[in-house]
Subunit: 257 residues, 2 copies
Amino acid sequence: MSMAMINPLTQKLEQFTTVDEADRARLDGWARHRQKRWDAKSDIISEGDHVDHIHLVLTGLAARYKLLPNGERQIMAFLVPGDLCDVEVFILDEMDHGIFAVSDVQCALIHKDKVEEMLTESSSLTKALWWSTMTDSAVLRERIVDHGRRDARERLAHLLYEMLIRYRIVGLSKDETYEFPVTQEELADATGMTPVHVNRTLKQLRDDGLIELKGKVVSILDTAAVKEVAQFNPNYLHLQRPSATSGDAVQRTDGLI
Amino acid sequence: MSMAMINPLTQKLEQFTTVDEADRARLDGWARHRQKRWDAKSDIISEGDHVDHIHLVLTGLAARYKLLPNGERQIMAFLVPGDLCDVEVFILDEMDHGIFAVSDVQCALIHKDKVEEMLTESSSLTKALWWSTMTDSAVLRERIVDHGRRDARERLAHLLYEMLIRYRIVGLSKDETYEFPVTQEELADATGMTPVHVNRTLKQLRDDGLIELKGKVVSILDTAAVKEVAQFNPNYLHLQRPSATSGDAVQRTDGLI
DNA sequence: CGACGGCTTGAGGTAAGTCAATCCACGTGG
DNA sequence: CCACGTGGATTGACTTACCTCAAGCCGTCG
C-alpha cells in the first residue's frame, strides 16, 4: 500500500469512533506488513481451511460463499476494501465456508498473534473491531429479510443501494456511482435468483429509470425511488456513533445515507 | 433458577471449552442475579430500544425478527435456552431488530458492566463468548443458504434438524424428540414461506415418514433421510473443540450430531 | 476470424402464493 | 354442561413470480 493511500479499515472504523494516532499506526502497520494478490475467480480461503492469518481486503471485491452438494452456489456476503475476511478463524477451528476473489483482489495478511496483541493493548480498537463484526452480522440479518420477504426487484434494489453506502464509507463511490465488478451470475448467487431473472429484473430497474449500469459501474439515478422499492432502512449499518461515546448528543448528519 | 438446574449457557459453552470452576461460578452468578419473565407473543426487546442489560434465555423460546413497512414479518433466528439475545447492544447504540417471546420465556438480565468486567478478568470466558457469537453468525449464514438455494421441503427439514441439535446441546432433547413451541405462522415467517405452504410441506414430510408432529413436539423419525433432504452439514455449528486448544488430537465423537 | 464468456430475450413449466372455506381443540361465560 | 368464540391447522381451486431450456447477441482476446 502506498503511503498516500488511506487504509480502508481505518476509514471504515472512523464510522464508529475516532481512531487515535497509536491505533492508526497499528492499523497501518497491519496493512503494510504483508500483502498478497489473488486473480479474479480464485479462492482466497476455501471451506475447511485452517487459517492463522486474518485477511483484510485492500482493493477489489471478494465474496463469502458456500457450495451445495448439487453444485449450486450461494454467496452470503460481499467483501469490499476495509472488510476483514475471517475474524472467526481466530477462534473457530476451520472455515465453514469459502471466500473467493470476485475481481482481482489485494489483501493484507495479519497474523492472529498481532490481533491477540491488540486485544490486550488497545481497548478502543478492540471495541471498534467488535463494532465491525456486529455490523457484519447485521448485514447478514438484512440479507435474510431480503431473501425471505422481498421479491426480486426489491432484493436487487436493496443490494445495490447497500453496496453504494458501503463503498461510500471507504471513499470508493462518487456521487451515486460506484464500481461493482460482478457478473449477473454472481448477482444471482448472492440474491438467490437465476441469472436470467437477474437480467430481466435489472432491465426493469433500468427501464424504470431507477439505476444505470455501464459495464461494471452502477449508478443510482433515483435515490428516493430506489430506497422506496427496497424499503431501505439504514439503521442496520449502525453509521451513527453511539451517543454514549460522544460527549454531546449531536448526531452526525454527514449524508452518508 | 433452582440450584439443581444446570445453567444452559454453561452447558452450551462446554461445547467449545472446558469451563473451570471460577468461570462456572461467574456464569451461575449471572443467571441467578436478576430474572424476568415474558408472556408468549410479547416483545422482550423492540427495534430501536437502547438496552443496558444483556438477556440470557433460561427457559422458553424467543425469536429475532424484523417488521417490514408492509407489515410482513421475517424471523431471522430462534433463541433457545443458553442463547444471548443482544450482545450487540453492548457496542451498538440501538437495536436494529426486535426479539419476541414465542412461548413464555424466562430470561436472566446481565448488566453490561458485568460483561465488561468479565472481558478483562477471564480470557477463557471471553473466548468462549466469542465462540458463541461466531457460531451465531454461522447459523445466520446457513439460513441465507436455506433461503437462497433450498426449496420449501429442504428448508423446513434443515431448520427442524438444526433445532434438534441446538436443543440437544443444552440437554432439551430426548432421543430425536424435542419441544418446539412455534405456530405454523411463525415457521412461515422464519422460512420465508406462507403458513399455507408450511402446512402442506409439513404434511408431506409427515406422510413420507421423515418427521412426526404431536402438538408442539417434533420427532425426527428418519434421521438419515432428514439429513439427506436437508443437505445437512453440521460443520457450521462448530461442535468440535478447536484442535489447537485441546492438548491431544482426540476429537470428540459424542454423537451430538 | 473464430471462440468464448457474459448478456439478452422468448416460450413454456412449476413451486409457491393467494383467497377462502372448513375443521378442530380450547377456554369461557351463561 | 352446553353454546359459542377464537386461534390455529387443514384443504381446495386458482394465480403468479420465478425457473428452465434454448437461441441469439455482443464485445474482446488470442
